[in-house]
């Protein structure tokens, strides 16, 4: 593969995002009709397929309960399981590294790359590597880091981050992808999905065959066996771990499960929840270097165990439950907010309901203050989550924490203070609820108060001219009268006679 072809990764203008700018991203997303169509179509398909799998599994709820109890057991005894897992991994020949944060993890991986004189890395999809900004660090070191999952490859060429946990290029149409390939790979434009895959497959096959190092994520770490489990559909993860000399697996601490016997529970939940399949095409087990046998597979297998705030979250009596997440993306697909704004609007690598809980936890209540508010509290995510995370409750809890930390929006703070003042002074309250109805009469007939911004997307009703208080008292007395007349014995007799 010529340098001219791989250089676009080095020069790529990698999307810089921050949850601080969520309001701007949301506004942009809401005005992009094509994006909304693409997201709605993809999520609707995913929701339907998942439901088909759920309906055909008679013991689905039992699986969810079991998965939840396994995850709870791990998070409740995280230190013990980590020690056991690391010890068993090392017995199998896996070198275990501990990284307190993203910077330490990046340095460990760069160090491994330097020691092995690595020039090219093939990466299989890893959200944890996105979390620590690994690609940028590798590129800065002069190492070509090539994403090999088709969706990730497309968004890497586009210079963006994934817009979904399991469908990275969900925001793009086939025409968009055709144009990206034409511009970045120098091929003739096509929007035929088979041809587009053929182009990517041919390019990436050459990268697989010539890469020095493979970087993968980990879906499940098996504590009892010291084994890494990696789930995929494309075979890119297996090629990333079996062709290069060195393999690095980057794993968040929370990805452990007790062992092999617990694994089927998670496998039976993950594929239906993520892609609507009964089973993913490939379930890889990595237990150590295999090159000594026939010269295949890695000479060295490194496992980087990333904390980056996870052990702090594990100590939180309420929010520790968010560490149960398998990153299946089912909560994104069902979420009416995600369906409208897509993934990039969240401003970080985790999005949707689970992302909204992780953003303030990982990035702090200042940078992540808007995350928990991207939710309508419809609770669909809680009913869908395969490990039964109570996401709406956690989002409410995080909203409280944002407010208590003084990080809520100025307008909101002023509004709540104003309301508190009125609520303490009944006369002022009466005036405040009476005044808008009267002031409105000065407007042309039928017109409501102007509310720039708000009325661009929706209608604003007119205030009742009697004022809120009078209307409330009147309607309450009417309701009371109706109730009395329904419950009185005489009315009952009259009805019977009728």
């Amino acid at each position: 593969m010529s340098d001219a072809v791989t250089n676009h990764f080095v020069k790529a203008d990698i999307m810089e995002v921050s949850p601080k700018y969520i309001k701007r991203y949301v506004k942009e997303a809401l005005s992009d009709d094509l994006l909304r169509q693409a997201v709605l179509k993809a999520t609707a398909t995913a929701v339907t397929k998942r439901q088909e799998r759920v309906d055909e599994t008679p013991y689905w709820e039992l699986l969810r309960q079991r998965a939840r109890s396994y995850k709870k057991e791990i998070v409740d005894h995280l230190g013990w399981y980590l020690d056991s897992f690391a010890r068993h991994c090392e017995e199998g020949g896996i070198t275990v590294h501990w990284a307190a944060d993203g910077e330490e993890a990046r340095n460990i991986i760069l160090d491994i790359a330097r020691k092995n004189n690595v020039k090219k890395v093939v990466k299989s999809k890893s959200l944890t590597s996105e979390e620590i900004g690994l690609n940028t660090a590798l590129l800065a070191e002069g190492i070509d880091a090539i994403e090999t999952d088709l969706g990730e490859y497309i968004v890497q060429l586009q210079g963006k981050i994934p817009s979904h946990l399991t469908m990275p290029a969900l925001h793009l149409s086939r025409q968009d992808i055709g144009r990206i390939f034409e511009k970045k790979l120098g091929v003739a434009y096509t929007d035929d999905p088979n041809e587009l895959l053929g182009i990517a497959r041919a390019r990436l096959r050459q990268h697989f065959l010539s890469a020095d190092m493979g970087i993968t994520g980990v879906n499940f770490g098996l504590a009892e066996e010291g084994c890494l489990c990696l789930i995929e559909n494309e075979a890119n993860a297996h090629l990333s771990l079996s062709l290069p000399r060195v393999q690095v697996a980057l794993m968040g601490l929370e990805k452990m499960i007790p062992g092999l016997e617990a694994l089927p529970v998670f496998l039976k939940l993950l594929a239906p929840s993520a892609t609507g399949q009964r089973s993913s095409s490939y379930v890889n087990f990595i237990g150590g270097p295999t090159r000594k046998l026939l010269g295949e597979g890695p000479e060295e297998v490194h496992l980087v165990l990333l904390d980056n705030g996870r052990s702090r979250i594990a100590k939180d009596p309420v929010l520790r439950e968010t560490l149960h997440c398998m990153r299946c993306g089912a909560c994104l697909n069902i979420c009416p907010v995600y369906q409208q704004i897509g993934g990039h609007a969240y401003g970080w690598v985790y999005m949707g309901p689970i992302g909204s809980t992780l953003i303030p936890q990982y990035l702090g209540e200042d940078e992540g203050r808007y995350g928990p508010f991207l939710c309508s509290l419809c609770c669909a995510c809680r009913d869908t989550c395969p490990v039964m995370i109570d996401l709406p409750s956690h989002l409410l809890d995080l909203r409280n924490r944002v407010v208590e930390a003084g990080k809520s929006m100025l307008l909101e703070r002023l509004g709540i203070r104003g309301w508190a003042l009125l609520a303490r002074h009944p006369l002022l309250y009466r005036l405040a609820t009476w005044f808008p109805g009267k002031a409105q009469q000065l407007l042309p007939r039928g017109a409501a108060f102007p509310a720039p911004g708000y009325t661009r997307e929706r209608a604003l009703g007119r205030f009742d001219v009697r004022g809120f208080r009078k209307r409330f008292i009147r309607e309450r007395s009417v309701r009371q009268k109706n109730k009395n007349s329904q419950s009185s014995p005489s009315s009952g007799e009259r009805n019977d006679n009728e």
Binding site: L150, E225, S242, K268, R278, S279
Partner: protein
């Protein structure tokens, strides 16, 4: 009261039927064969459909024996993984359209094949060829993943892969396409 695994098939015949059904649902192909000669005939037929002139094979005794028969009865050139050093083998596997390997187990409820490569030392033929043909002894089909994890010799299972059908992607507008990076076709020859 619901029970995990309550949809588990009971008898041998039901197991094979469930495996066949699930494999086909996962876009795999199921070919029952009685004798080695029948299996060789199927391989030659698939090779003529695919247009490949080489067949990469893994090193298990049953596969080597079947490979020899195929070589005798057709013009297909055989590449045994143990014959070549790693660098040449990698290129040969990547260039080959066809491969033949053996599965240690089948898992009926998801139509999956189990390949432990702790002992065989190879997984390139399983992933690099366009069409993967798999020899599966019918008596090695287990009802589900729960049963499989219990049966497994955990010392030999450290490096292993479960395969359910061809490699696939739906990353372009959720349109399913087979043959993303691995085989586009998986044919199980159930013996």
């Amino acid at each position: 009261m619901r029970r995990v695994g309550e949809d588990r098939p009971a008898g041998k015949k039901e197991l094979l039927e469930r495996f066949r059904k699930e494999l086909i649902a996962a876009d795999g192909e199921f070919v029952p064969v009685k004798k080695e000669k029948d299996a060789a005939g199927e391989i030659i037929r698939i090779a003529s459909e695919t247009g490949g002139d080489t067949l990469t094979i893994s090193a298990e005794e049953e596969v080597l024996s079947l490979g020899r028969l195929v070589e005798k009865e057709s013009s297909l050139r055989l590449i045994r993984v143990t014959d070549l050093p790693a660098k040449e083998r990698k290129e040969a596997c990547a260039a080959s359209k066809l491969s033949l390997v053996r599965a240690a187990y089948g898992i009926a409820d998801i139509g999956a094949l189990v390949f432990p490569y702790e002992e065989s030392g190879t997984s390139w033929p399983h992933f690099l060829a366009g069409c993967l043909m798999v020899l599966l002894p019918a008596d090695k089909i287990l009802p589900d993943q729960f049963e499989f994890m219990k049966t497994l010799d955990k010392r030999k299972a450290r490096n292993m892969v479960l395969v359910s059908g061809p490699s696939r992607t739906a990353d372009i507008e959720k349109i399913l396409i087979l043959g993303a990076h691995g085989p586009a076709r998986v044919v199980v020859l159930a013996v």
